[in-house]
């Protein structure tokens, strides 16, 4: 099997299922390991869906160098035992566990067969280490702050963390199943908005792109423009809120208060535009429900000017403030090797020196003309993730202003009444503020959905957090956790 025989498709495209090459599992595994040996490629998604009597495994590998996505598949029988690819390539380990959990396939030689979401709370046995000096600390699922549930089990030697095991799945509410069961488009749109409330714009944009592509519909320029603007506002709001939370976790009250209140004008602008502070309702397939007017443009420009002045003043302060820096610098390091090995995406990858940003490698919506260059840091520590946010905020301000200079007109809403094509496979990659989001839909011969796969960047990056805290004091865990701010609900689905 050579590279040219595999299917290369562009981001946001739709192909007939028959065009996806079907390999034997041995070949599928060998090709996967060979492809992922190149550092500019990573696994965007690997999943299974029921096909005939058995199952079909689908691999989607994003090639940052070529700007395309390599797709191939393999048939398997229920309960079949396959040789694990994760044993050689750690980036695949959670995907294999998910396939095992959802469909019962066995992966022989998998390094750690622990549950992804499906477990009995209180019954699951955590990884243990023997040693008189060691002790365990269990935290969660209910945490001290107003945050989502997850269980963290630390194995410590004194104050030092030797190992962290993260057990997720508490937020599992069955979104992928509901996507197939609920037949109306508006129901599915709302499900996509609820994958992660803080990323509702990016996830619903990925859904809209997949759906439009399945229907053979090309949205107008104003639709793509509005999605891009909404996504950049989402990035601004979340990065700002996170900077406040990072300051809060190192007990720097001025930073926590200032960044905390700076998030407000951004989310309030979102509400002025679409009636919801988190951008819910702003993205719909085929059209843009809320026109962007000249008044909104004037409002946004003045909001951003006031925001930028205060944001820069505050950011200038924290980056030179010794008592903040001493908590951030060299805390929670993810090395370049680790980030590459686990297939990290988004902030977790960019802060460790991996140049991986879908807006630049696989541009979509209005990004092709914006020429976004990824912000990359090399230290891989909490400070790098803080600086990355500050720099991405500055970058987003530039992107938003460039968009506003080239504002399209919002005419009448189109009433498109098409339905998905038969036997089709559609994929959309979107760079949310956390990183790469991937949505995939597959239709049956009658055009109905038979598979809907959602992957949030957190699915890759939770492992980065587990690695980052090793060797750190356990008291630094909150700041490490907040510096990634990974999603529980979008992982648990």
């Amino acid at each position: 099997m050579t590279m040219t025989e595999l299917l290369h498709i562009s981001n946001g495209s739709c192909v007939n299922v028959a065009k996806i090459p079907l390999l034997s599992y041995d070949c599928f595994r060998a090709v996967t390991l060979e492809l992922l040996d190149v550092k500019t490629r990573h696994c965007a998604c690997y999943f299974a869906y029921p096909c005939g009597e058995g199952l079909r495994l689908v691999m989607c590998i994003a090639d940052d160098g070529q700007g395309d996505i390599i797709v191939y598949a393999c048939d398997a029988q229920k309960g079949e035992v396959l040789l694990s690819a994760a044993a050689q390539c750690l980036a695949l380990e959670r995907f294999e566990r998910e396939i095992h959990e959802n469909w019962g396939l066995e992966f022989e030689g998998h390094p750690w067969y622990k549950p992804v979401r499906d477990f009995l709370p209180g019954k699951y046995e955590f990884f243990q280490m023997e040693g008189e000096e060691l002790h365990e600390v269990g935290v969660g699922p209910v945490h001290a702050g107003v945050i989502e549930p997850g269980h963290f089990r630390f194995i410590c030697n004194g104050e030092d963390v030797l190992h962290l095991e993260i057990q997720l799945g508490w937020q599992h509410r069955g979104i992928e199943k509901l996507m197939l069961e609920k037949k109306r488009l508006i129901e599915r749109v709302l499900l996509s908005e609820g994958i992660a409330g803080d990323t509702s714009v990016s996830h619903s944009s990925a859904f809209a792109t997949v759906w439009e592509s399945l229907c053979g519909f090309r949205p107008g320029r104003e639709v793509l423009w509005a999605r891009t603007l909404a996504a950049e506002l989402e990035r601004l709001a979340n990065h700002t809120g996170d900077l406040g939370a990072i300051c809060g976790d190192v007990a720097y009250q001025l930073g926590a208060a200032v960044y905390g209140r700076l998030r407000t004008p951004i989310v309030n602008f979102s509400q002025r535009w679409c009636g919801n502070r988190l951008g819910k309702g702003n993205v719909r397939p085929f059209y843009s429900p809320y026109a962007f007017t000249e008044e909104l443009k004037t409002q946004l420009l003045s909001d951003l000017a006031a925001y930028e002045r205060d944001f820069l003043q505050m950011s200038d302060k924290i980056l030179y403030f010794p008592s903040v820096l001493s908590r951030l610098d060299r805390t929670g390091v993810v090395s370049l090797e680790q980030a590459e090995e686990i297939g990290a995406v988004g902030m977790a990858a960019k802060c460790a020196g991996v140049e991986r940003d879908i807006r630049s490698s696989h541009p979509y919506a209005a990004y092709p003309s914006l020429n976004v260059r990824p912000v990359v840091k090399t230290a891989g520590d909490v400070l790098a993730r803080t600086e990355l946010r500050i720099d991405e905020v500055k970058q987003s301000l530039g992107i938003i202003r460039a968009l506003l200079e080239d504002m399209p007109s919002f005419g009448r809403q189109e009433n498109f009444d098409g339905s998905p094509m038969a036997d089709s496979f559609a994929i959309s990659l979107v760079e949310g503020w956390r990183g790469e989001i991937c949505h995939i839909a597959i239709t049956a011969p009658d055009g109905s959905l038979i598979a809907y796969k959602i992957k949030d960047p957190s699915f890759h990056n939770w492992m980065a957090l587990a690695l980052a805290v090793r060797g750190n004091e356990i008291s630094d865990f909150p700041i490490c956790n907040k510096s990634f701010n990974l999603s529980y609900c979008a992982h648990d689905l």
């Binding site: 549930p149 001025l254 819910k280 999603s487």
Partner: protein, 247 residues
């Protein structure tokens, strides 16, 4: 030092002086008003993704409504979402808005347990439990604590331990995996304790209603003291709801 003072001074006054009267800026999809205009009721009800619309008479149940605005988009003459953020109540029935009605949704003072007003009037500490939602209500709850909304000025706070709490505030549709932890957290709160449901997902399950991965039996066994609708609930809805309940 001088830099810090400069930053401090340049913030000016950020707090909202009167949260009881404050309005959400711009457009906000809050309490809907349904006109008496005659429409095909079945067709009107069928546009709702979460089954919040009932017929004869036409009504919208804000405990199920996801505030997506789809009904207003399809039937602009029939329904309009106003910018009224005051939507929380202690009586489930009061979340149902009927056609022709345009009255505020209020807490029924007579139905509030007397100990709530006696004990929690000036100090209410809540333990928040996130149970299967999308994290958006948590984001807005955190916003209630920022310098603008400043919920703390009323003696209302979210605390780390249920042992320090006067009750639980639940977000999310209550996933099966969280059902046990929710019960344990509630049991760990000393009595008297209250139960608050924050957001449409918590009140009815929202878009996830009927999913086999939910376990909402907690609500069969415990009385709910406050329903706060929204997707997510706006900080002003949360703050005014809690104040209406306790004061």
């Amino acid at each position: 030092m001088f830099k810090s003072i400069k930053i401090f001074l340049s913030q000016g006054k950020q707090f909202i002086p009167d949260v009881r009267k404050a309005k959400a800026p711009g457009v906000f999809r809050g309490r809907p008003v349904i006109s008496t205009e005659s429409v095909d009721q079945q067709e009107f009800a069928s546009v709702c993704p979460s089954g919040a619309i009932a017929t004869t008479p036409v009504s919208i149940d804000l405990g199920k409504c996801l505030f997506c605005g789809e009904c207003e988009r399809c039937f602009p003459q029939k329904v309009h979402f106003t910018d009224d953020t005051h939507m929380a109540t202690n009586v489930r029935e009061r979340l149902i808005v009927r056609e022709g009605e345009d009255k505020p949704i209020e807490v029924d003072k007579n139905a509030v347990r007397p100990e709530i007003r006696r004990i929690f009037r000036n100090s209410l500490k809540l333990r928040q439990v996130s149970a299967g939602g999308d994290g958006s209500c948590e984001a807005e709850l955190n916003a209630t604590g920022n310098v603008q909304f400043d919920l703390g000025r009323f003696g209302v706070e979210f605390v780390a331990s249920p042992r320090h709490a006067d009750g639980v505030l639940i977000t999310g549709p209550i996933s099966s995996n969280m059902a046990g932890a929710l019960e344990l957290t509630y049991e760990a709160c000393p009595e008297p304790r209250i139960v608050v449901l924050d957001g449409t997902d918590a009140i009815s399950g929202g878009i996830y209603s009927g999913s086999p991965d939910l376990d909402r039996s907690f609500l069969d066994n415990h009385q709910v003291d406050l329903y706060i609708p929204g997707n997510p609930a706006h900080p002003l809805t949360v703050i005014n709801g809690i104040l209406d309940l306790t004061r």
